[in-house]
């Protein structure tokens, strides 16, 4: 067992994990943050995407022990302290960018990072940006629309 300390959504959390514990399992089962989903456990679907020091990573391909001391944002940490949805979350609701919602946390994390780096992406850049996340329900065009809408909301609010 390894004692690790992570800052998750701004809160310092500790866990004792075996070396092989995946970060996705650590977040979901050790820390109770079940918003991060696991769709494939082999790094293809993007459901498990979280932000590690701000960068999107696949938590199913990351061992929890390797991120000891780092800063993690999960879907639970995207809304404001007061519960206000982030622009990306609001845009997904507005544009019907989700159906079953299983892929959604991964998309939200990916898009949050995408728009931070590129606040006004072109259509091509949006497609490229989300091309590592699978969705089996929604058919992507409303997701693309959500990304553009989020960019708009962020521009309006900045």
């Amino acid at each position: 067992m390894h004692e690790i300390t992570l800052t998750v959504n701004g809160v310092v959390r500790q866990a004792a994990v075996p070396a092989r514990r995946l970060l996705s399992d650590c977040l979901r089962h050790d820390l109770g943050l079940t918003g991060t989903h696991v769709g494939c456990e082999h790094g293809v679907c993007g459901c498990c995407t979280v932000l590690l020091d701000g960068e999107p990573v696949r938590s199913c391909l990351t061992f929890a022990v390797t991120v000891d001391g780092r800063d993690i944002t999960t879907v639970e940490g995207l809304a404001g302290q007061d519960g206000t949805l982030s622009p990306v979350q609001r845009a997904f609701a507005e544009c019907h960018g989700l159906q079953c919602g299983f892929c959604t946390p991964g998309f939200l994390c990916t898009v949050t990072a995408l728009l931070r780096d590129n606040p006004a992406p072109s259509d091509e850049e949006v497609l490229e940006g989300i091309s590592g996340n699978l969705c089996r329900c929604t058919g992507y065009q409303n997701i693309v629309k959500s990304v553009h809408r989020a960019a708009e909301i962020m521009a309006e609010e900045s």
Binding site: P18, R20, R21, R28, H29, G32, L33, T34, G35, T36, H37, V38, G39, C40, E41, H42, V44, C45, C47, T74, V75, E76, L78, A79, L85, Q89, F92, A93, E94, H96, L98, Q99, C100, G101, F102, C103, T104, P105, L108, V126, L127, E128, I130, S131, G132, N133, L134, C135, R136, C137, T138, G139, Y140, Q141, N142, I143, V144
Partner: protein, 802 residues
């Protein structure tokens, strides 16, 4: 009415929860539960000689190991055959854990329970199963001819054989009509295996309350009521002691309608035995090799037609690959056989299918359920006829359409629900007109010529379908108005992302005249509503939607009756607006629905201020009647059921423009257009979303997705690395237009929309590639290398012909 919400693109009420990580999917429940894992067969066909668990026993954290021999009573029997159609003469289902023989890679053999999943898998890895390998039967045509048998007692590997035949008006059989027709064509089509592949796999969590002798099971299912009945039957528990809840479900698309899955009875059984919560969450590889697939068929088609392209006779022989078992019966090939005729009236029709066992994963419905294969067959026929006659493809279709004044239209077949296949309503010529306009059909030749001048190959394709939706037998709804004015709606069918919470709330709010915010909806929880069939076959909105509307009408009627008494008015003069019962034309005279709820329930105790108005001393009741009149029930609530005489028939037409790369044979969809008619729209935003999602799955089926089995029955691409589902970069923008021909069969005039998007896509893309390339496309999916090979074969042929 300000509260009319039916038909509005109301935003989804499930979203805030799902967008903040507060959704509760199966694996999010039961923290601390013991975890199950399974040893699954690595062989497609083998006899189990011995199972040695001695090494596994050493694993720290191991709790239990179970094999078939440990299973008691009904649990040791084969799983139920859910839909025993009389033509399924040799139905076979698996045991929850394999007994003696395994028939596909992935079949569960041993169940392990441990403190966590890692440890359970450690133990699985240490269990040694000694197999005697038997020869597998793989591939539907091979199986139909093979002397090898999947089940020793099923001759020829044929599970079912079914023929349906509709003669022409003149009494000719299809074969005679074809022989007598001015033109005939014969061809063969080949459709590959795909799968539902929801991003959340299956999962089960069970909790046994030893004090109360009751069981609560959460399952990622499309049918909690049926899972409940299966568990009660298999474990010998009284039904009221079993509750099953479908939590948030991360997509179903058909695979989660099969019930019970072995795990759905094994996990609860283990929870009872061990007296602890037990959970199992399927992983992706397990989903590929131990749940279900669909689509695989080989079809032989003969068609006879006249100079206008009118079909005089159609004869289709289908070999349907149903894998190793038939838990869900032969619904899929029956739907293929009966939905094949689409929007057309054809002279004479004969369809025969054989459903064949192979040593591969079982086949059960996947979104579209047999229809994509049916539409592929019919629409390929239409295209081939047009090509033969040198006619426009849409003209040939139009020549065969059922006309708007011909409804109800009886196709003369028996549908999947055992009832006559009678189309309720539709307007196919108008649908085609809209589609041609949307995609620019008539301008396409000029576009194609311009592209050709630039050295680019583009093609346009079309596909039409009719979809039987809203199949029975029934669904129900319960509506309760509580004394705070809130409306609680429940229905037994489940939700897997279709937005049922939203559309059912829209229906209730509209029917009862209350603001949407006051309505809450619960689905798939047998504690709230125990009678239901499930969510599949585009039936939820039609079935539960209408049941909820009917229940609301009962509640409304009662509310008006009680309010009329209180207001000393005639119920016919009352309306409910914004949660208030008002006298029409006299807005000052009103009583809140909340108060009506209070009045509906005569009380003894004043537990709060509202209740004080309904106690025995409140003073409004008359002394010559009991407080609850005969035939009445206390409370403002109602329950009703909707059970249709037959299915409603939605319809639609899709068109696409594709470009094929002259060198690499890469296929790109440039445009995709959909005209869709599902009767009255409850929420157009949600219906469009369903279409987008369906088209995306259809594109997967047309271009990418196929289960690749080798000759040993090994699934070679059982991961997302190798089974290619489309990403955002592969799915085209979908342009849509709606047509609304209401169904005369139900009070809301609606038809189902869940599968519409997926059904014709393979046919449309095949049609477009064929147009671009001038090469016949008769198998799906088609990859660039398939197209490359087809090109080579075509050039080879023309060289050898000259």
């Amino acid at each position: 009415m300000t509260t009319k919400l039916f038909g509005e693109p109301v935003r989804r009420r499930e979203d805030p929860r799902l967008l903040t990580g507060r959704g509760l999917y199966l694996d999010d429940l039961g923290a601390g539960a013991l975890q199950a894992a399974f040893v699954r067969s690595p062989h497609a066909h083998a006899r189990i000689r011995d199972i040695d668990v001695s090494a596994a026993i050493e694993v720290d954290g191991l709790v239990a190991i179970y094999t078939w021999e440990d299973l008691p009573g009904a649990l040791a029997e084969p799983l139920p055959l859910l839909i025993p159609h009389p033509a399924l003469t040799h139905g076979r289902t698996a045991y929850p854990l394999a007994r003696e023989i395994v028939r596909h890679v992935g079949e569960p053999v041993v169940m392990v329970v441990a403190r966590d999943r890692y440890l359970a898998e450690d133990a699985c890895a240490l269990i040694e199963v000694d197999y005697e390998i038997l020869k597998p039967v793989v591939g539907v045509e091979e199986a139909a001819q093979s002397a090898q048998l999947v089940h020793a007692d099923v001759p020829g590997n044929v599970g079912a054989h079914l023929i349906q035949e509709v003669p022409s008006a003149a009494g000719l059989g299809a074969r005679e009509a074809i022989d007598a027709a001015p033109h005939t064509l014969a061809f063969r089509l080949d459709i590959e295996r795909s799968a539902s592949m929801p991003l959340e796999g299956r999962g089960v969590h069970a909790r046994w309350d030893a004090d109360d002798h009751s069981l609560r099971v959460h399952s990622s299912t499309q049918t909690s009521t049926s899972v409940r009945m299966a568990i009660a039957a298999k474990l010998g528990l009284p039904l009221p002691k079993v509750e099953v809840v479908a939590p948030d479900v991360g997509g179903g698309f058909g695979v989660k309608i099969v019930h019970p899955w072995p795990e759905e009875i094994l996990v609860p059984w283990a929870a009872i035995r061990l007296g602890q919560e037990v959970k199992w969450t399927e992983d992706r590889r397990e989903h590929f090799i131990s749940s279900a697939h669909e689509r695989a068929q080989v079809q032989s088609v003969r068609v006879g037609f006249d100079d206008e392209g009118r079909i005089l006779g159609l004869d289709v022989e289908i070999l349907h690959d149903h894998g190793a078992y038939t838990p869900y019966g032969i619904i899929v090939p029956i739907i293929t056989a009966t939905q094949l005729l689409g929007p057309y009236k054809i002279g004479a029709y004969r369809v025969a299918f054989s459903s064949i066992y192979t040593n591969t994963v079982q086949v059960t419905p996947y979104r579209g359920a047999g229809r994509p294969q049916a539409v592929f067959c019919m629409e390929r026929s239409m295209d081939h006829i047009a090509e033969h006659l040198g006619a426009d493809r849409t003209a040939v279709r139009a020549a065969n359409f059922i006309q708007p004044d011909e409804f109800p239209y009886d196709q003369g077949l028996i549908f999947q629900d055992g009832r006559p296949l009678i189309y309720d309503s539709g307007d196919y010529p108008e649908s085609l007109r809209l589609l041609k306009e949307l995609i620019g059909w008539d301008d396409f030749p000029a576009l194609k010529a311009r592209a050709a001048a630039e050295g680019r190959a583009i093609g346009i394709g079309i596909g039409c379908y009719v979809e039987g939706t809203g199949v029975g037998p029934y669904e129900g709804g319960h509506v309760q108005v509580t004394s705070d004015g809130r409306v609680h709606v429940s229905t037994g069918l489940t939700s897997q992302g279709q937005g049922h919470e939203t559309v059912f709330a829209q229906i209730a709010a509209t029917e009862l005249g209350v603001p949407l915010e006051q309505v809450s909806v619960v689905t798939g929880d047998t504690r709230r509503f125990g009678y239901a069939v499930g969510t599949f076959a585009s039936r939820a909105a039609v079935m539960s939607g209408n049941a909820i509307a009917l229940a609301c009408r009962k509640v409304r009627e009662k509310a008006l009756r009680i309010a009329a008494e209180a207001l000393e008015a005639d119920p016919r003069d009352l309306e409910i607006v914004d949660g208030e019962v008002r006298v029409v034309g006299a807005p000052g005279t009103a009583i809140p629905l909340a108060t009506v709820a209070v009045l509906s329930n005569p009380l003894r105790y004043a537990f709060d201020a509202e209740a004080a108005r309904a106690t025995q001393f409140a003073g409004t009741s008359s002394f010559d009647r009991p407080p609850v009149a005969e035939g009445e029930e206390p409370g403002l609530e109602g329950r009703d059921y909707y059970s249709p005489i037959r299915s409603t028939f939605a319809s639609g037409m899709h068109a696409a423009i594709v470009e094929t790369d002259p060198l690499t044979a890469e296929i790109r969809i440039l445009r995709y257009a959909v005209v869709h008619d599902c009767g009255n729209l409850i929420n157009p935003m949600i219906v469009e979303g369903q279409i987008h999602g369906g088209v995306a799955q259809g594109v997967g089926g047309a271009l990418y997705e196929k289960m690749v089995y080798d000759g040993h029955g090994q699934l070679l691409n059982a991961s997302f690395m190798d089974f290619l589902m489309p990403y955002a970069t592969e799915v085209p923008f979908v342009e849509t237009a709606h047509l609304e021909t209401p169904s005369p069969l139900n009070p809301l005039g609606i038809k189902g929309a869940g599968e519409a998007g997926v059904i014709p896509v393979s046919a449309v893309i095949a049609s477009a590639i064929e147009d671009a390339e001038g090469i016949r496309i008769d198998r799906m999916p088609i990859s660039p290398s398939d197209l490359f090979d087809l090109r080579r074969a075509a050039t080879g042929r023309s060289t050898s012909e000259t």
